[in-house]
């Protein structure tokens, strides 16, 4: 239902605009002075130096969860790619060497230039392999290719950054586990 808001007509002092302009300038001056002398009280943050507080539930950069043996939980089912409205996920699958596991992921790319951070891939994942709880919201790279997160970057997270999540603690060493990397066919460097 529409509602008409009747505004009070301005009186003649206000219609002069001189006093109103001075009032506006006073507000600006107040904030400028606070920025100079009482910086910490400002409601904004000075971004590159000060970082905003990001909560665990914020849809930030993705990470791939790991099994206890250090291999990614991802079974390459493609549900995330099917759910993705931006078509930014590319998956290649292959047969697993582990007889208890059928299918494993060979290639998992998320193009963060195309990603809209909707979180539908996380919802779609049937094995809770994909999460967006890294709190990483800054993407700065020199080339476009570096914005494409691959299996290596998605799994190189530190369990210490997730102290309150028990499932992140089960994979000892994360992807720094050379044994695990060998199991899922990623070359082990140094």
């Amino acid at each position: 239902m529409a509602r008409v808001i009747r505004q009070r007509p301005m009186n003649w002092v206000e219609r002069l605009y001189i006093f109103e302009a001075i009032r506006g300038l006073w507000t600006t001056l107040k904030h400028a002075a606070r920025g100079l002398f009482r910086y910490e009280e400002l409601p904004t943050i000075s971004y590159p130096e000060g970082q905003p507080e990001v909560r665990r539930t914020y849809r930030a950069k993705h990470r791939l969860m790991l099994r206890a043996d250090g291999t990614p939980r991802c079974v390459a089912c493609g549900m995330c790619a099917a759910a993705c409205p931006a078509h930014c996920i590319y998956i290649e699958a292959t047969a697993s060497d582990d007889p208890r596991i059928e299918k494993k992921v060979k290639r998992f790319d998320i193009d963060h230039l195309t990603c809209v951070f909707c979180g539908l891939c996380v919802e779609a994942c049937p094995v809770d392999a994909l999460r967006m709880d890294t709190k990483e919201i800054i993407f700065e790279h020199r080339t476009r290719d570096e914005f494409v997160a691959n299996l290596q970057t998605l799994t190189s997270w530190n369990p210490k950054d997730y102290p309150d999540d028990a499932q992140s603690q089960v994979a000892p060493g994360g992807t720094k586990n050379a044994e695990a990397r060998k199991v899922w066919g990623m070359e082990v460097k140094n």
């Binding site: 079974v75 390459a76 089912c77 493609g78 549900m79 099917a82 699958a93 292959t94 047969a95 007889p99 208890r100 059928e102 299918k103 049937p126 094995v127």
Partner: protein, 539 residues
């Protein structure tokens, strides 16, 4: 279960129409078929798992239940094994809650120990169980968490998984091309019936009883047959999977191009399933007259070489210069047409012959061995368009003649014909012809021995028509998988050489209509997807 069942009678165009009552409404259905096909003919789909139109009816899945009015009241019967009778009264879920509940219960029973593998199952997206669940099931799970799904089949393949559940047979190696997942199997026995009745080699069996049933081969033997990949098609679930396609692509990402397999003169109807510019698999396309739902492994796996060893695109001036050079020397030209030439290519070859005049002569045929038809989906004749050769007045078997008279010719032009690769020593006389021009998609033996090898499109990448050994005109569609967009179809290049270029495949088809009157007046739209039987009947 008996070992012998009857093949279902399928409705045809000539089926007598009888009146039956479906949900108390009178409908006219084909009278010489089973109820499932009859209901399908009037647009009522019945969910089914074990029934397959080209396999004997076994009736073990009980998913196609309908109610029939009988002397003892309304009874549940299976639609796939009930013949249509005039005046019968049928009730479908549209009017009968009992049918709906019965189907739902059957569905639930079938899924009790079926693993929740859909995310990693290759069949997901084209799975009969998934379709039936959406249509007839939609049950709430009644599984208690402490029980979970249990596998009772082949005790040899049982194992305890990471969550402590009894699992089994996730990848049983049945043979060189097929893997079996025993957990997913619903014991519909379609694969058993296929190997027994269609392939004629009983290599698969159901072993055990009740929910301990599992599919197996005979001890020490493997599933190895020319048609063994068909069991992955008939499998309604993801139990039988083809090794070549396993985990390659999710099926919903594939696009499908209907075309004809041009490696055999039966011209098996196929789907080329492709995604991002690559063919991922070849599936049989149902054509009751030609290959039904079957496809040989040879035709099915041929696609793996379609994009390998290809010739690059070349400028047209190269071939023009070569022809001009050859003309300077004078002498006769031999045009050799090969097996995978479509009618359009043949029309262009005839056009080129007319342009060259009396100095040119057309030869056709293949050095490959012509086998016998196997009665399933192969005629054994590698010259795919042999009937088209005859139709367009091109010799289909005079390559020996060419070899004998090789010294007469100064120029040899081969089109889609690997004469040196197939002929070997028999074709060595042709190497004495000074100018050898090969139009071929592949860098094969003929391309290597040619003085000029000109890359053209493969048959999977062109539009066209062919006439198969049953005299059925079938059409090919272009699958967008050409490795180089600059490659051109043979008919386009040859007609440009002849001086009047065919801009489209249909221009070439119209020209073919001038050479063969039965093709005149047809267009690609008037040829049905299952082909058109040409006048004169079966050749």
């Amino acid at each position: 279960m008996s070992n012998f069942y009857n093949m279902p009678k399928l409705p045809t165009e000539n089926s007598p129409k009888v009146e039956i009552f479906v949900d108390d409404k009178a409908v006219m259905v084909p009278g010489d078929t089973n109820l499932l096909e009859a209901l399908k003919a009037v647009g009522i789909e019945t969910p089914h798992v074990c029934y397959h139109p080209y396999l004997p009816v076994s009736g073990n899945c009980r998913q196609c239940l309908v109610e029939q009015e009988g002397p003892r009241g309304r009874m549940l019967v299976i639609a796939c094994y009930t013949p249509v009778m005039p005046g019968m009264k049928i009730y479908t879920p549209a009017s009968s809650a009992r049918v709906k509940n019965a189907r739902k219960a059957t569905q639930e029973f079938m899924l009790v120990n079926h693993p929740l593998d859909c995310p990693i199952c290759d069949k997901a997206g084209e799975c009969t169980l998934q379709e039936n669940f959406m249509e007839a099931g939609q049950n709430e799970s009644r599984m208690r968490p402490e029980y979970g799904k249990n596998y009772h089949g082949n005790p040899a393949h049982q194992f305890i998984d990471a969550k402590g559940q009894l699992r089994g047979g996730k990848h049983v190696d049945l043979g060189p091309r097929v893997l079996l997942d025993e957990e997913r199997c619903v014991q519909c026995d379609r694969c058993v019936r296929f190997m027994r009745t269609i392939a004629g080699s009983e290599q698969l069996q159901l072993a055990g009883r009740a929910d301990h049933t599992y599919i197996t081969t005979f001890p020490g033997e493997k599933l190895d047959h020319e048609y063994d990949l068909c069991v992955t098609d008939v499998c309604p679930v993801g139990a039988m999977t083809a090794k070549y396609f396993r985990f390659q692509k999710r099926v919903w990402l594939l696009s499908h191009t209907p075309t004809i397999s041009m490696d055999d003169s039966l011209g098996a109807n196929i789907w080329l399933d492709h995604a991002d510019g690559h063919i991922y698999r070849v599936m049989p396309r149902c054509n009751p007259e030609v290959n039904r739902s079957w496809l040989s492994n040879t035709s099915r796996l041929a696609f793996q070489n379609f994009d390998k060893n290809r010739l690059p695109a070349m400028g047209f001036h190269v071939i023009q210069e070569a022809i001009a050079e050859a003309k300077k020397n004078g002498g006769k030209v031999a045009l050799v047409a090969g097996g995978s030439c479509t009618n359009e290519d043949l029309a262009a070859i005839r056009l080129l012959k007319e342009a060259l005049g009396d100095s040119a002569e057309i030869f056709g045929g293949t050095f490959k061995k012509v086998g016998a038809p196997d009665g399933i989906a192969m005629s054994g004749d590698p010259l795919a368009n042999r009937a088209g050769f005859k139709l367009l007045g091109i010799a289909d078997n005079n390559l020996e003649d060419l070899v004998k008279r090789a010294s007469e010719f100064k120029v040899l032009v081969t089109v889609n014909n690997d004469v040196f690769g197939d002929g070997g020593a028999a074709a060595s006389a042709l190497e004495k012809i000074p100018t050898r021009i090969a139009f071929t998609p592949f860098n094969d033996a003929t391309a290597n021995k040619a003085t000029l090898a000109f890359g053209i499109r493969h048959w999977s990448e062109i539009q066209g028509t062919m006439v198969n050994s049953l005299n059925i005109l079938q059409k090919l569609s272009a699958c967008p998988v050409c490795p180089d967009e600059k490659l051109r179809p043979a008919y386009e290049v040859l007609s440009e050489l002849a001086g009047s270029k065919f801009e489209t495949a249909f221009d070439a088809f119209k020209k073919a209509g001038e050479y063969a009157s039965v093709l005149a007046g047809l267009s690609y739209d008037t040829i049905k997807n299952t082909g058109k039987l040409l006048e004169g009947g079966n050749a």
